[in-house]
Symmetry: C4
Subunit: 228 residues, 4 copies
């Protein structure tokens, strides 16, 4: 069942550690099958090298386990994002160190260069801190809610990632593989953003014209990057 998607989610989870994006078991990738509305996600606490097609968790959008091991404790966050951001095909959550440091600092990552503009059309938001009530009651679901709240004035397809305040990042894309790429970009711009500030404290976002140029040479109908 869903063998192709399982394979993609399996490879994406393993690529987290191959790309240096994860420590121990602190990250998980999921993918959704739009037809059946089933989500494949990393099982909770299982090391990446022990993941197989068989032990991956399959859950429905109500969070009920359909197949495999007990799913990641972050599953309710993933499920909410699939419901509220309907064109997403894959989601990555991980504690990669630079992005996590921005999340711990509680700061949005400003657009400081074209590397950022090539993938994220504007700053990468950090959510507001969660309230004590949100933390105590259905924490993982409420984590999804504060993420969605951060996208009130921006589009999830143009900004395919977020920092959860005091926690770490979530990234997404049309597929698990694209979500991994966005995670790589997020970590890289987090790193270069920190260094840029260290070189010049009062650094400003790049001009709108440069943001537009780089974002739209890669996205949308006037894009001209790549082979298509």
């Amino acid at each position: 069942m869903l063998d192709e998607l399982k394979k993609e989610v399996l490879l994406a989870n393993k690529s987290l550690s191959e790309n240096g994006l994860v420590t121990l078991t602190w990250g998980n990738v999921s993918g959704i099958d739009k037809q059946s509305e089933l989500v494949i996600i990393k099982p909770s606490g299982v090391p990446y090298e022990e993941l197989t097609m068989e032990n991956l968790s399959v859950v429905n959008l109500d969070g009920e386990l359909v197949e495999g091991k007990k799913p990641s404790s972050d599953t309710p966050t993933h499920l909410l994002l699939y419901k509220r951001f309907p064109e997403i095909g894959g989601i990555v959550h991980t504690h990669s160190p630079y992005a996590t440091s921005w999340a711990q600092a509680g700061r949005d990552i400003p657009v400081l260069g074209t590397t950022h503009a090539d993938y994220f059309y504007g700053s990468i938001p950090c959510t507001r801190p969660m309230t004590e009530t949100e933390i105590k009651d259905n924490y993982e679901l409420k984590t999804g809610h504060v993420i969605v709240e951060a996208f009130k004035n921006r589009h999830y397809k143009e900004t395919p990632g977020v920092l959860v305040h005091g926690h770490a990042s979530f990234s997404w894309g049309s597929s698990a593989k694209e979500a991994i790429n966005h995670t790589i970009v997020l970590e890289e711009v987090a790193k270069m953003g920190m260094w840029t500030e260290q070189l010049k404290g009062d650094v400003l976002s790049i001009d709108r014209a440069l943001l537009d140029k780089h974002y739209f040479r890669k996205h949308g109908k006037y894009s001209y990057y790549g082979q298509n």
Copy 2:
């Protein structure tokens, strides 16, 4: 004798360098057999690639060599911790660079995010500086004493690691393998803590509710992380 424990301690010592937690021979791992009260520990000054089941040191709680090579010069610190923190099964000492930098700065590592809260229930303490007398007389034993002193108001099982002022870290756990995991976590939160401060100087600890949520979703009877 104690072959299973020896194997675990051997692998744990080798994993120090595989995980980038050690330079040259600046780290050692031990494990205790509760039944016989014998401790297996890295021999002094032996490179990790030369460690074998045969040359590992076996000592009793009085520090007497029972088998193998001359034990690590840090053995008296390990032995004191086994005596005073009775539920510990394994201990790691290493000069990993981020944790050591906090130790050299003489600072506790505050709880700046959920990565920390997942493993350490509160800040990771730095001991007070040792006195000249403590340094000159039974230095390695007194190192154990200042560690124990730092745990007067916290529990060693909830905070499985410490920074020794001007020196480096000790971490522990129910086994040598768990102690290695805690060392990995300590180094990672030391790194992200430094970067978080660089991004936002006056960064505060996360709220108690978030600390509780993350610590207790992984520990204790209401935990729901992992497959059990």
Copy 3:
């Protein structure tokens, strides 16, 4: 056709990722055949591991595709540099993190030590920000223009690299291979320059005598470094 040059450009593109100078597909290397005035360059959006002698793009100096896949979107920048800096044999563009952070900070890299002086005879310039008109109209060509403008008062052979404001670096050399070496040097001096400033805020450039000594012991007719 041009098999030797293709091979060199192929290896140089692959060496970008082997040397940790590139993330995803954010870099491209080209080489020129002076006889035929044909330029070999990385095709747009193709991962480094999929590059072959066959899919490399061959273009003439007017930017017309002669052979292979659609060339890098940065091709007009490369072509302008070949026209204006006639003794260049190879060009590298990449978003390596330290150099890119200086570009994002909009700063020249000063000569802070002999490592820099061994390869770059003076500071490594950062271009002025491009205007909205330059960005909107023929962006990649205009990127070349602002680079050339930055070399009004210095020689491109003595300073074989540049930072494009808010973007990333371009480096060059007598061949693609030498351009890769200059990219490695640029990234290394960008890194050490940042760290030097962190250790001593008001750090000054090294003395002219030391700059001359190191540059000219490796370059020009009085050089005495190496086997020739």
Copy 4:
């Protein structure tokens, strides 16, 4: 001739890049045969992977080539150190990034922890800047002179390394292998020293008692570290 020493110098040169201590060809290791007063040193500009027993340079203390390829341009510095620091058996020069950043900042590395105290009995000095005359006339020899000058009030055996102002480090030891170890230590304490300052600006050197304890538990007749 001198096959054993050649082998050691060969391995030490190759270990520079294996330990991440060198970029391109920016480092060289030498060893001396006390009997014959011949020095084996890396040939100038040859990549580490092309080094063999046959192309290593053999020079006498007057700098005359006895065998092999043209020696490193830094040879006169090595030779002066062998003459003035008579108990040295091996020397390493390299531009490793953290040590070089301290050299570029023109600062001594203070003793901020026991890692440093285990190998260097006091701060690691940075030489004074060289004068224009020293730079223009016999530069590499004069580099040796300013190093020796920095040891007027300390012993080269207790402080087996130095930073040359605006340039990079030299380290030494009883053998080429020990010199490599001291280079590893120097780079590590340079890194942790920078980070310690970033965590606590006004950090002080450790107490004399702790410096003595750690240095002398590894060195001299009362040492008790290691298997002997």
